[in-house]
Amino acid sequence: MAKEKPAVGFYDLTGCNGCLLSFLFNEDEVLEMARHFDIKTFRFIKEVKEEKQFDIVFMEGLVACNSDLEVLKEVRSKTKTLVALGACACTGCIPAYRNFIDSSKYVAMVYEKAREMKDVQPVPINKHVQVDYYIPGCPPDKKQILEFMKDVLLGKKPNDYDKPVCFECRLNENRCLLDDGKMCLGPMTRGGCNSVCTNGKLECWGCRGPMPDANMAVMSKLLEQKGFTKDQVRQRMRTFFGMMIETPPEPKPIKIKPEKKAKKIKKAAKPAKKKAAKRLKKAAKPAKKAKPKKTAKKMVKKQKKAAKTVVKKTAKKTVKRIVKKTVKKAVKKTAKKTAKKAVKKTVQKAVTKKTQPTSKPAQQPAQQQAPEQLKNNSKKSFLSMLKGRFKK
């Protein structure tokens, strides 16, 4: 063969290896694919790794510890195209749901001594590096990965599926689960999965992330009308794509609070211990002990309050923005009708901005700009972030 095979790497960060398995589960095609690509790295099934230069890297999993971050940055610098494979890499999936949990409820832990493990805030990979393509889904449809690789071989630009889950669900002639009183997120979730969950009568949890023009506010209202509470709906939306619709409260939950608490109590407890050693068993002592504890508690309470207000404020802001920007129609209608328009717009924008990465990725100068772009990105409103994420 005269044509050179594209050099491919399959990497996994913190995750369940399910997305890479999904690729391998193309039982009839996987060997054929291995022939057309030069698979340089695939830790899951391959001993040797040649980590020089890649044309494409498929990255599974999300960034959850320091070593993940190192690997991700190194790989980004070596590849022309980076593909986020699966929900963890694209939206953060369930592991990123941790960002929204009040850690003070569960963290003070036996795990204490292993602080060196260096957890970092669990985020999808595009928070740290530029991502060229997304193959969403938990797990991504195995045929979809194959389709992507075929497109690469043909020099075609891979397409995003631009209709919500509802579209495919209707084509599959399923009964609407919303009518059955289930908390189905199908109307606002990006399709392309052949509505696999609703075919099996499980409501859509939104693993592929929201449509670029999804109207969260109306979706939420719709579900509230069905009898779910606001909290339940928010919790469900946060499960798979919380990072895409909200900015989680900053000071990272795991470390800070318990440490401060522990220190204060320790400081306070020490003199008390000394006194105990001197056998001063007076009634005044417990009062002394109690005081610092109280202040520590107060501190924690204050922190909690502050965090809560921040969340409320940001949530309100984002909701206002959505309401302004999207038309207040029923979610189903907007999703279907505006989907095409919105995607066209974003595609046009993107095309003017970028050259197409897979066909001639080497000419892409955008990589060096990535860090600055990202910084700006994090400040933008959530909707523009959404658009940015899905732009092709």
Binding site: D12, L13, T14, G15, C16, N17, G18, C19, L20, L21, S22, L24, F25, E27, D28, L31, A34, F42, R43, F44, I45, K46, E47, V48, K49, V63, A64, C65, S67, D68, C93, I94, P95, R98, I101, S103, S104, K105, Y106, V107, A108, M109, V110, Y111, K113, A114, M117, D119, P122, C138, P139, K142, V196, C197, N199, G200, K201, L202, W205, Q235
Partner: protein, 425 residues
């Protein structure tokens, strides 16, 4: 002379792990095997969620055994709420587990373990010269996937299995079709077992405690008590016998039984339940002139091969038993309680335990995966195995250790995602 061996990224296993060994004058001073994946704190994520949401969330712990996590989680919730699933539901769950077992064993045996023994770098390399084997593996994986998809609705993270029953039932025709396909795979499974019987395992014996489920009727899968040579206890009592602890170098926990390591997995299942194997599976063992119990951890591969034969037979049996009738999932009524689900998954016993309040919100959760349980045993094996390897070149030595680790079929993505978490109420 002292030296330190550090294996940074062990390949061909599920997830990330490192091994650090230091040897001093032919003595192993330090041997630390641990997971280096980021932690996902699944037990923390479950707090405050409704009990029926747990299966969907915990299924994301692992890609290769997502069915197992889903079903184990369902069992734990059902135990807490006092729900008894129907016979049909149990059979369907068992069939899904069989499908998953077939594909998991096939993946491990052919893609992760076999290349070591045939001297290839990877299965892709192997496919040039040993196409027959690789094709066979892919056929088995495909069969497993078809079984799981038919029942669960998707190859991974099944959708139709719920607390109380099945959201969607396969049709009788689909089940019959599955039976036909499983029957066709019989030859492949036997060829696999024979292949692994013919492979020479390194000579190494170390006795340890082998724990598995056993219900005294069938080869264990979803039901039974926990047994080993010396003890027998109920699922609910697991905390009295098994103890978790944490080490600094690993993001996964270690589990011990009365301060000693033990082994779970195919070898343990076979050591404890040999008599319940199917005829064909027994024949493989007697033909190979092997007698259980076995104390060589490398033989775990062979045990998986034998299990493959057994589960193919059992799959046919389950399909025969299934006469699909329409039934709806049992309605869930919340009550306060604690429930433990323990089932046999490809790599050993999996434990899910939840506590919930009267509204059905999970208040505490504990999950112990097989690899956590095997981790310490692996370390001890490496310690004992190393002195006999010291004359080898470093490359050979590393390969041998990797072989040993791989024979356990460890899954570090599963194991690292649980931290023992103390709940503040």
């Amino acid at each position: 002379m002292s030296k330190t061996i550090k294996l940074e990224h062990i390949t061909k296993i599920e997830g990330h792990a490192t091994l650090t060994v230091s040897i001093d004058n032919g003595q192993v001073r330090k041997c630390e095997l641990g997971s280096v994946e980021g932690s996902r704190y699944f037990e923390g994520l479950l707090k405050g969620r409704k009990a029926y949401e747990a299966p969907e969330i915990t299924s994301r712990i692992c890609g290769i055994c997502s069915c197992a996590h889903t079903i184990c989680s369902i069992h734990a919730v059902e135990a807490a709420l006092g729900i008894k699933p129907t016979e049909q539901t149990m059979l369907l769950r068992e069939l899904a587990m069989i499908g998953e077992r077939i594909r998991s064993h096939a993946t491990h045996l052919y893609f992760l373990a076999l290349p070591d023994y045939l001297g290839f770098e990877s299965a892709i390399d192997m496919s040039a010269k040993n196409k027959k084997e690789v094709d066979r593996a892919l056929r088995l994986v495909k069969l497993g996937n078809e079984i799981v998809t038919t029942i669960g609705g998707r190859e991974m993270h099944p959708v139709s299995m719920q607390v109380g029953g099945m959201l969607k039932l396969p049709s009788q025709e689909q089940v019959d079709e599955l039976r036909r396909k499983i029957q066709e795979a019989q030859d492949d499974s036997i060829a696999t077992a024979k292949l692994f019987a013919s492979i020479k395992c390194p000579k190494f014996e170390r006795e340890t405690e082998y724990i598995s489920l056993s219900d005294g009727i069938n080869y264990p899968m979803l039901t039974g008590e926990l047994v080993s040579k010396s003890s027998r206890f109920k699922k609910e009592e697991y905390k009295q016998f098994l103890e978790e602890y944490h080490e600094q170098y690993s993001s996964s926990n270690f589990v011990v039984k009365s301060d000693r390591p033990y082994m779970v997995g195919a070898l343990s299942r076979l050591n404890n339940n040999y008599r319940f194997l199917s005829k064909n599976a027994k024949k493989i063992v007697t033909d190979a002139r092997i007698k259980f119990p076995i104390t060589n951890p490398f033989m775990n591969n062979f045990a998986q091969g034998v299990e493959l034969v057994h589960y193919i037979n059992r799959g046919i049996e389950v399909c025969r038993k299934l006469a699909i009738k329409e039934e709806k999932p049992i309605e869930v009524k919340f009550k306060k309680g604690r429930g433990v689900g323990i089932i046999e998954v490809p790599r050993g016993i999996l434990i899910h335990e939840y506590e919930m309040n009267e509204k059905g919100d999970i208040t505490a959760a504990n999950i112990i995966t097989p690899t956590c349980q095997n981790l310490l045993n692996m370390q001890h094996d490496i310690k004992h195995y190393l002195p006999s390897l010291l004359k080898m070149s470093e490359q050979r030595l590393i390969l041998e250790i990797e072989k040993l680790i791989r024979s356990y079929d460890p899954c570090f993505s599963c194991s690292s995602h649980f931290l023992r978490v103390k709940w503040e109420k």
